[in-house]
Structure formats: structure tokens, C-alpha cells
Amino acid sequence: MAVQITTKEAVKKIIDKSSVMIGGFLGAAVPLKMIDEIAAAGIKDLTVISIGAGYRGGGVDIGKLVLNKQIIKYVTSHVGTDPNLIKQIVNEEVELELSPMGTFVERVRAGGAGLGAVVTPVGMGTEVEAMAEKITVDGKPYLLFKPIRADVAVIKAYRSDPLGNLQYQGMSNTNPIMATAADIVIAEVDEIVEVGEITCDQIGTPGIFVDYIIQGHSYAERKNVYEELWIATNKL
């Protein structure tokens, strides 16, 4: 069962040295308001766990935390979209932990699902072999990766009800998986509706996984933010 709090209250759940999962995919479907608030609060030495860096070019969404130098470790599958982050990694200001994207996602899922490891063939014959343990199952070689969990997950959904039942629209990408894999789960939503308005088969993340709900930008505001970003970067 979830509790609705303000963005300012929510950001207090994250402290210096916290590990923080951030939902979304290279800038899409990210919790914009919470990221702004984390940036404003100046929390330091964060381990950020997200499937990739922020929107191409850097400096927006997760890229704000990079510009602020709030991150000491980045757990991900891709940093190519953020030149500032790459620079900090090369300068050894930020430690990088990479895994292939599908493996990253399974590691987070395993963290939330109480599984002990992820056993995957992906990465065999590449440098990824050095990032994992090699094991043999049925005579075939696989890589064994450990689960990933975080102190706090900050995710983005379309709507919530007061029980914390979340509805997604479009690509939910990492959000439903990350909602399962942290001690504290904060969901930023476009809209909070009454119980029952999100029907049982529209619920993408049941409230059992969610601790706090915060009111993000409205859908109209958020659409505007992305349209402006996409027009400015020649994508729309």
C-alpha cells in the first residue's frame, strides 16, 4: 500500500551514498520531477542504476545528476548518449559497471524476484566474460551474473490510484521491473485517480510494490516537455 507524499518529502528518502534505480529508457518515460528534485537537493555520492544514460547529448533528465557530479558509480548497459558522463568515467570520477542490456534487466528482475543469479549465454566470447562467473549447464557455457537491487527506486508511470496501483501507457520499459527491486519504491505519475478507476487488468504494477506516490507533471505538461525536446533536437 502506498502513501502520497510531496516531491520534497520523497527526495529525503535518498541520502548521500544511496543506491538509486531510475526508471525509463535513455530519457523516455523517466521520472522528470524527481530527477529535478534530486539535482536540486544536491545529494552526493550516488550509485545510479539505470538501463542507459539520459537523453542524447546529455544535460537533461539523468544528465542533470551527471552535470552536478552527484554520481560516483553508474550501473548500466549504455552510456553513449551522455558525453559528460563518458568524460567523468574516463577521468575516473565515476565508476562504471556494465552488463549487456538484456542481462542488466534480468539482474534487476532477479533482485526483485528473489532469484539468486542470472544465467545467460549473452556475452560469451567477448570481454563480458570477465564481468561474470562462467558456468556450464547441460554441457553448454554460460555467464552467471549477480542480481541488482537498490536502496531506492524512482520510477515513472502514467496513473496511480491511492493504493499505489500503477498504470503505464506506451513503453513501460524498465519501470515495472525496477518497481520490484528496491527497499523503497517511489512512483512519479501524471495523475492520481480513485481506487477502481484503474481496472484489474490495466494495472501494470500492483500497489504491493509501491511505497510512495508523487504527483509529477500532468500528461499535457509532460507531452509538452518532450515535444519541445524532440523539436529542439530535430527528432519531430
Binding site: F25, A28, Y55, S77, Q169, M171, K223
Partner: protein, 217 residues
């Protein structure tokens, strides 16, 4: 128009009913040349199947985007899902084909595309999963680098993205099949000769003699 040749040539590999994941750049462009009457279902690893062109301004949806976080539209019959499902689909062998760019490919069908030590540091993203899981892998790239060096090597020199997975190589100059025994030249781009290909390709081309013989006779 080498770029155009590659995209058009990729499109000939699309068969009706195929589920395909296209890498950014030329592979994505190839979707513009899908043959009439052929329905191809495009997969995007961030969690979508059957997406369409970018929307008009004012009609975008902040949560409908491709793997580059660029706005797209969903076609009728399209599906959205989370990334765990998406990579289960990819790694589990459900996607028929992927077309990707590369820095190097070699005779064994290995591919290097994600890292240049000391230079290019981006992370592998979803490339390793796609190359492992998709039933058919096509590499689309320029035949040589900007210094004129062959990108089709005997053995990749850069860190691999996947070992022994490539089925076909389409460059601006030629098309190759990658078989168990090695590389086979299948087609030459307009105006390109087998002799030129032999000279521009570091890897051994198993059937190059036949091609050269045909050119001479």
C-alpha cells in the same frame, strides 16, 4: 549513392511476416524500401512491436519512443511491453532478423561494434543480446574505414560484440554470405568488380576465384 545501395539491398532480405529489429542509421533507413506486399513487423528493444513512422508535431506521445528515445507511432496491431519481455523475446530467439552496423566483421562471423579501447566508450547496450538471439544477423556497413582499410577482417582486432553470429554482410560495394567454411561473395554493387573486392577485403573470400574467372571470360 552507396548509402542508398546498402539500405535498398537490406530491404531485399525482408520476407513477408518477419519480425525484425533494425539498428540505428542505415538499417533503420532500409524500412523505407520494404517491398510492396511484404509485411514486416519492426521490433524495438525498449518494448514495442509494429511501430511506424514518427508522429506529426502535436501528436507525439511521451511514452511512445524508439530505442533512441525518439518519437514514433504505433501501427494498428502493434504491442507495447516492458524491457524484460522485450529481451526475453530477443534472447529467446523469437525475432527473425536483426540488421546492425559494425566497426569490423570477420571470416568467422564475429563482429566488433561497441568499443574502441581508449577511444570509443559507450557500453554494449542491447547489441550483444540482439546478435546472440536474433535468428538471422545482417551486418550493414561501409566496406572500408575512412583510411581505406578493410572492415572485413580475417579476425576482428577490436573487442567483439558477439562471436560467430553474422549470417550476411552488406557493404556499399558487395554482399557476402557467412557460412561455416568462411565468406562467400554473393553480389557486387553496381560498377564494382570482383578484383576490386579482392583488393579491398582482408578476409579470405572462398569463391573469389569463380567471380574473377567470370569477369575475365
Amino acid at each position: 549513392m552507396p548509402r542508398n545501395y546498402i539500405a535498398r539491398r537490406i530491404a531485399k532480405e525482408f520476407k513477408d511476416g518477419m519480425y525484425v529489429n533494425l539498428g540505428i542509421g542505415i538499417p533503420t533507413e532500409s524500412a523505407n524500401y520494404i517491398p510492396e506486399g511484404t509485411q514486416v513487423f519492426l521490433q524495438t528493444e525498449n518494448g514495442g512491436l509494429m511501430f511506424g513512422p514518427k508522429p506529426k508535431r502535436g501528436e507525439s506521445n511521451p511514452d511512445i519512443a524508439n530505442a533512441g528515445a525518439e518519437p514514433i507511432t504505433m501501427l494498428s496491431g502493434g504491442a507495447v511491453f516492458d524491457v524484460a519481455t522485450s529481451f526475453a523475446m530477443i534472447r529467446g530467439g523469437h525475432v527473425d532478423m536483426t540488421v546492425v552496423g559494425a566497426l569490423e566483421v570477420d571470416e568467422a562471423g564475429s563482429i566488433a561494434s561497441w568499443k574502441i579501447p581508449g577511444k570509443l566508450l559507450t557500453g554494449m547496450g542491447g547489441a550483444m543480446d540482439l546478435l546472440y538471439g536474433c535468428k538471422r544477423v545482417i551486418v550493414a556497413m561501409t566496406h572500408t574505414d575512412k583510411h581505406g582499410n578493410s572492415k572485413i577482417r580475417k579476425k576482428c582486432t577490436l573487442p567483439l560484440t558477439a562471436a560467430g553470429v553474422v549470417d550476411m554482410i552488406i557493404t556499399d560495394k558487395a554482399v557476402f554470405q557467412v557460412a561455416e567454411a568462411g565468406l562467400y561473395l554473393e553480389e557486387l554493387a553496381p560498377g564494382v568488380t570482383a578484383a576490386e573486392i579482392k583488393q579491398l577485403t582482408e578476409a579470405t573470400i572462398m569463391n573469389i576465384n569463380e567471380w574473377e574467372h567470370n569477369e575475365i571470360t
